[in-house]
C-alpha cells in the first residue's frame, strides 16, 4: 500500500502544521473532494461514521463512501458553482455496519487565489440525537412554545408539522399577540432547515431607504456611507428561514423586489449588477387584512398570491375559551418560578374577572396581565386588586353614544345591533354595562338563555358564567 503524504498548512503559524492533526480534532465529519468529486482527504470522524478508512477511501468517488441518499438522488455538488454559497441538505447514509444514519451535509467550494474551483469541502453531521425515536419535545397541549387545547389551536398544531415538511412560502395571519412569531419559529424548528438560521425582519421597523439595504444588502460605494459590502438579511438566511413580520407594512417598491426574489430566488444587492442565488424559505406574517389592502391598492395582488401558498390563521384568544385558563396557569407557573414567588393560584373573583375579559391584545396581553399580577401580589393567591385596574374599567369604545356597536374585538361584536334593540348604556362601569346587556338580551329573548346567548354572540356557557358573575337569576 502506498504511503499517503501528510498535507501541511503553511504560513498560518511560524512552522507548518499537519492538516490531519487539525481536522481530526474537529468533532464533525469533514471530507475534502477534488473537482471530480473523489475523496482527497477525510478526518477520523468520517471513518467512524462510514466505516471506511482514509487509505480505503482516497481516490474513490464520494457517493461510494458516504453513500448518502442525497448523493444518489441528486448530487448537491452539481448545483455548486465557484461563487456559490454553501449548500446544506438533510439526508441519510448507510454505513458498513448496515446502519442507516440521518445526516446533514454542508458543501462548499474550495477556490484558489484566482477564484477557480480546486475542490470541495463537505461537512457531515450525525443528527441521530435530534431524531431520537419516541422523544417528543412537545408536551400535551403544546407545540414548540405555543400552548392551547381549543379546537382552533388543535387544528393549528395539526397543520404546523405538515407545513414544516416542505419549502412552500407561508402566510401567517392573526391579530396582534396571537403568536405569529412563535408559529413561524416553530415551523422553522420543525423543518429540515432547523440547523440553518432563522432570520426575522420587521418590514415596518425601518425607513424605506434603509429597508432595501437591510434586506438585500449593498455593494461598497453604492451610496454615501456604504464603505463596505453588506450581505443583507436574505443572504444571511441562506439555507435557513426568513420571516417577514408585518409584511403589510412593506413599502410598494420593496414589494416588487420581494416579488422578483420569490420568482427567481436571486438577490441583487443595492448597487450591484451581480446576483446571488439564495436558498431560503420565506414565511410572512401580518395582522392586517391583505385582501383589503390589495383592494385599496396598498399591497400587490401578485405578491399576496405568491406568499399565500400555505395560509395559517391563528385564532384570537376570545375564540379560544378553553385556552384562557390553561394559559393563565402556564404563565403563573412561569413567572412565579422566574421571580421566586410562592403564589398558588387565583382567587375566585380574580379568576372570573380574567376569564370574562375580552383580551384585545390576545395572549401577549394575558401574559402581561399575569406578569403584572405576580409582581404586585403580596399573598399566596392573586386577588382582584392585584390585577391591572383597566380590567374592571369599560373599554373606551363601549363608553360611547347609545346604539354604537361594541368594540370590534369584543365577543359578538356587531351582532347585537343587528337585532336592534339592545342598548349599551353609558356612564356606568364595564361590569354594570355588561350586566345590563345580559339583562336586556334576556328580556328580548323572553328569558330563554340560549336565545339570549345567541343575541349576545356568546356561547351558552359564557352567558351562564357571566350571569353567575353578575349574580343574575
Amino acid at each position: 500500500m502506498t504511503k499517503i503524504p501528510i498535507p501541511q498548512i503553511t504560513n498560518l503559524f511560524g512552522r507548518s502544521i499537519q492538516l490531519d492533526a487539525m481536522l481530526d480534532e474537529i468533532p464533525m465529519a469533514i471530507v475534502i473532494l477534488d473537482p471530480d468529486r473523489r475523496i482527497v482527504y477525510m478526518n477520523k470522524s468520517v471513518s467512524a461514521l462510514t466505516g471506511y478508512s482514509l487509505a480505503e477511501a482516497r481516490g474513490i468517488s464520494c457517493h461510494n463512501i458516504i453513500r448518502s441518499g442525497a448523493c444518489i438522488k441528486s448530487c448537491p455538488l452539481a448545483r455548486i458553482k465557484k461563487d456559490s454559497e454553501p449548500v446544506c441538505v438533510q439526508s441519510d447514509l448507510i454505513n458498513r455496519d448496515h446502519q442507516r444514519i440521518p445526516i446533514r451535509i454542508t458543501l462548499a467550494p474550495l477556490t484558489d487565489s484566482d477564484g477557480n474551483v480546486t475542490g470541495y469541502i463537505e461537512s457531515i453531521e450525525d443528527i441521530r440525537s435530534f431524531n431520537v425515536p419516541g422523544e417528543d419535545h412537545s408536551h400535551a397541549f403544546q407545540f414548540s412554545e405555543m400552548i392551547g387545547k381549543s379546537p382552533g389551536m388543535t387544528k393549528v398544531f395539526q397543520m404546523l408539522p405538515l407545513i414544516a415538511l416542505n419549502d412552500s412560502s407561508v402566510l401567517i395571519t392573526g391579530e396582534t399577540g396571537t403568536g405569529k412569531d412563535l408559529a413561524a419559529e416553530a415551523i422553522h424548528e420543525a423543518s429540515n432547515r432547523a440547523k440553518g438560521l432563522f432570520i426575522k425582519i420587521n418590514c415596518g421597523a425601518l425607513p424605506e431607504t434603509l429597508l432595501e439595504s437591510e434586506h438585500f444588502g449593498h455593494q461598497k460605494g453604492a451610496f454615501t456611507g456604504a464603505v463596505e459590502n453588506k450581505p443583507g438579511r436574505f443572504r444571511l438566511a441562506h439555507n435557513g428561514t426568513l420571516y417577514l413580520t408585518e409584511i403589510g407594512d412593506l413599502p410598494l417598491p420593496l414589494q416588487v423586489k420581494l416579488l422578483t426574489f420569490l420568482d427567481d430566488r436571486v438577490i441583487y444587492p443595492l448597487g450591484s449588477t451581480k446576483g446571488f442565488e439564495v436558498n431560503v424559505r420565506v414565511i410572512a406574517g401580518t395582522h392586517r387584512d391583505l385582501m383589503q389592502m390589495v383592494r385599496d391598492g396598498r399591497f400587490r395582488k401578485d405578491l399576496l398570491f405568491r406568499l399565500n401558498v400555505v395560509r395559517l390563521h391563528l385564532p384570537p384568544l376570545r375564540d379560544r375559551e378553553d385556552d384562557i385558563r390553561l394559559l393563565m396557569d402556564h404563565f403563573l407557573n412561569t413567572f412565579t418560578r422566574n421571580f421566586g414567588r410562592k403564589i398558588s393560584g387565583f382567587s375566585k373573583d380574580a379568576l372570573l374577572m380574567l376569564k370574562s375579559y375580552p383580551y384585545p391584545g390576545n395572549v401577549r396581553e394575558l401574559r402581561n396581565i399575569i406578569e403584572y399580577a405576580v409582581n404586585v401580589s403580596q399573598g399566596a393567591r392573586i386577588e382582584v386588586p392585584d390585577l391591572p385596574a383597566y380590567l374592571s374599567e369599560p373599554p373606551a369604545s363601549v363608553q360611547t353614544v347609545p346604539g354604537e356597536s361594541p368594540p370590534d374585538d369584543y365577543p359578538g361584536a356587531g351582532r347585537i345591533p343587528e337585532h336592534g334593540a339592545l342598548p349599551v348604556r353609558t356612564g356606568a362601569n364595564w361590569g354594570e354595562t355588561e350586566k345590563q346587556m345580559i339583562l336586556d338580551a334576556l328580556v328580548k329573548a323572553g328569558g330563554r338563555r340560549s336565545r339570549a346567548a345567541e343575541l349576545l354572540g356568546w356561547g351558552r356557557s359564557t352567558l351562564w358564567r357571566k350571569m353567575k358573575l353578575h349574580e343574575i337569576g
Binding site: R67, I72, L93, R96, H98
Partner: protein, 119 residues
C-alpha cells in the same frame, strides 16, 4: 428455484449501486450451462424500493446479491432466505463480476478502476 451462481447486482450507471434501497436498475447475471460464458439481463425497476428489490430477488431465484450499502433489515432478510449477500462492494460492473467468477470477491471489496463513475 434458486440457482447458486445466479447473481443480482443493483446498478448505478456502470458500477455497483452505492445504496441497495435507492436502486432503480439492476442486472441479473446467469452463468451459461457447460461453458465459461454468461447471460446478463438488465432490469429497470418501476420504483425505488428495497422491499420490491427483495421480492424480485426471491422471484428470480437469485443465489447471490452483490451490492453496496444495505440496511441491516434487508441484509438479515436475504441471508435468512439463504441468499448470499456480498455487500459494501465498490467498483465497475465488469470488474466486479470477473472477480466474483474467480471466487475472489468478498464483502467490503473495492475493485479498482474508478475511472468510470456514474453521474
Amino acid at each position: 428455484m434458486k440457482t447458486p451462481n445466479k447473481i443480482l447486482i443493483p446498478l448505478y450507471g456502470q458500477e455497483v449501486a452505492p445504496r441497495f434501497d435507492l436502486t432503480a436498475e439492476a442486472v441479473i447475471v446467469t452463468p451459461e450451462q457447460n461453458g465459461p460464458g454468461r447471460v446478463e439481463k438488465f432490469i429497470v425497476l418501476p420504483q425505488v424500493s428495497a422491499e420490491k428489490l427483495c421480492h424480485l430477488i426471491l422471484t428470480e431465484g437469485i443465489g447471490t446479491v452483490i451490492c453496496g450499502g444495505i440496511e441491516e433489515e434487508y441484509y438479515q432478510y436475504l441471508t435468512w432466505k439463504r441468499i448470499q449477500v456480498i455487500d459494501s462492494v465498490i467498483g465497475p460492473l465488469e470488474a466486479v463480476i470477473d472477480r466474483f467468477v474467480r471466487n475472489e470477491l468478498t464483502t467490503g471489496d473495492i475493485v479498482a478502476d474508478n475511472s468510470e463513475t456514474a453521474e
